[in-house]
Subunit: 327 residues, 2 copies
């Protein structure tokens, strides 16, 4: 399995972890995204796991020369869609950092190209693979809490000092798509319900000189069957907090309530409250490789990836325009 990597931003660690998990996977080439200067940093990271990719300064040349089976795309967020389109059009499977697109036009263009191609696509919505989330989801999927009625999810990050391009909405895409995408993804993943409406707000106030980057956001999704989903997003997590991110979901159903917080999954049902034993960690990129080989299914289908991205962009539009948006 030959892997090419485009871009040094985001969660390339998923790719490295997947490659380490499979003896037959090889990173054959790395190249910078369109707005990046070099792929030297990606190459250095690859060398740390005993890979020796060829380093290119242009991703098209990397694709043409190395003909990778799968290509990861993790560059400036606004470039994801255009790069992924070129990757797909050249016939490579693609593993794209979220958000896969930062405008609805880009998303539609990507979906059109994907629909007409014969490749597979997945997205770095890696928190589906965090054991507490995978465990909680499976328990809900097996009916432990009955019918899902109300969900609240949280993404809270430390702000730190982020690169200048993230201060610019046109390149960054917004905090709802970047930080919020995981939580928005959980809503339809856990409930199996359709998104119907979204109402959202966001604000760049108190963002410690990060330009247009929104430091706080709140989204309210109405889903099929009167299922409601709230998502609160912020960059307000104090530097002294134990971990970078404070990821949570609470799912209240007709027969129980399940929560994920601090890496734990906690259930209350008619047997009382208890912590759940967590499923073993699975590797997102390794499973995508398995899916391509037809031996497993990734937890994140292309359909999921497109739907989550659309939900993020409609939530951002709601927040920008100050009104409810229907799906």
């Amino acid at each position: 399995m030959k892997i090419g990597m485009i871009g040094g931003i985001g969660h390339n660690g998923y790719v490295f972890d997947g490659v380490r998990a499979r003896a037959d996977a090889r990173i054959v080439g790395v190249a910078p995204g369109p707005a990046e200067e070099s792929a030297a940093a990606i190459a250095r990271q690859a060398e740390r796991i005993d890979q020796s990719p060829k380093v290119f300064d242009n991703f098209r040349r990397m694709l043409d020369d190395e003909k990778p089976d799968i290509v990861s795309v993790a560059c400036h967020y606004a470039d994801h869609a255009a790069v992924a389109i070129e990757v797909i059009e050249r016939g490579h499977h693609v593993f794209i950092e979220k958000p896969m697109a930062t405008t609805l036009d880009d998303l539609q263009a990507l979906e059109r190209v994907f629909d007409n191609a014969n490749v597979q696509l997945s997205c770095m919505l890696g928190l589906r693979y965090a054991p507490a989330f995978t465990t909680a989801w499976r328990v809900v999927d097996h009916g432990a809490i009955g019918e899902v009625r109300l969900m609240t999810a949280q993404k809270s990050y430390k702000l730190g000092k982020r690169p200048a391009w993230t201060h610019d909405r046109d390149r960054y895409g917004g905090t709802i798509p970047w930080v919020g995408s995981h939580a928005i993804d959980w809503l339809h993943w856990f409930s199996g319900a359709r998104f119907e409406h979204v109402y959202a707000t966001h604000s760049a106030r108190s963002n410690r000189d990060h330009g247009e980057l929104e430091a706080s956001a709140l989204c309210h999704f109405t889903m099929s069957n009167d299922i409601f989903g709230g998502v609160n997003i912020d960059y307000l997590r104090p530097g002294k907090a134990m971990s970078h991110g404070d990821d949570r979901i609470r799912v209240a159903g007709t027969d129980g309530v399940i929560e994920v917080s601090e890496g734990r999954a906690y259930l209350i049902d008619d047997q009382g409250p208890r912590d759940l034993e967590l499923e073993p960690k699975r590797e997102i990129f390794a499973e995508f490789m398995d899916q391509i080989e037809g031996t497993a299914m990734s937890l994140i289908s292309a359909e999921d990836a497109f739907l989550t991205t659309k939900a993020c962009l409609l939530a951002r539009q709601s927040a920008d325009e100050g009104r409810e948006i229907s799906f």
Copy 2:
């Protein structure tokens, strides 16, 4: 201090606890609310704390005969405003169960009568007096988390089997005003910000044969200075959960995050994460008596009580009408 009690619904325990805390307080008369048959149950509860009120079958007669200094009103929720208006017009101070009114017209009528009277009014928003909330609020008020940016609050109750009148919106008033009022109250209490807009949804699905009673709701408040507040409300807490209610708030500010959950107050700031030592429990009704005597200030001003009630009713209207409402 002579106390009269009208109605046997709701949090009369606040009144009994306050009376026990003050040697000079005496419950002189009890009467049913307009839709209740008798006050015998209230009288029995009063006797348990060594009070021997006279039992009336009509609250007007109780007011005229006993001339109480303060009157508590806790009857069918839709009757609160009309009863409180009569109490105020007769010149008694009044301590009203929330929601103080179940329609905006009733609320305006109550506020008009109160503004023209020379009595004091407070409301049974008793969770301000739960030590974890009082403690967290004071820490925020003292600036420990900097400027408040994003709040999420939760009210989750066990449903059990509720009386038939709560199945009827016209008498019950709705789950957002009844269950949600505490959480909605916290938003302006903790932030000191003005409510500007609200978008809410609610649903009576899966309410286990409770008629129109909504079992789930989600509210999204936009406040002054781009402060956002989410409130999730449900009757989905499993019967086997440790406590009846699962009350929470998380307040994220520019310099820290504070949370109340399971009776604990937890702060993360630049000194790291820690549980806060809780303030001693104070008695809501005893403090209202102190306020009337001029020796203390209740945590719940009349202004707070009117504002919280209005916010609840506008949130319910938003949910009923499926649109954002401006304050």
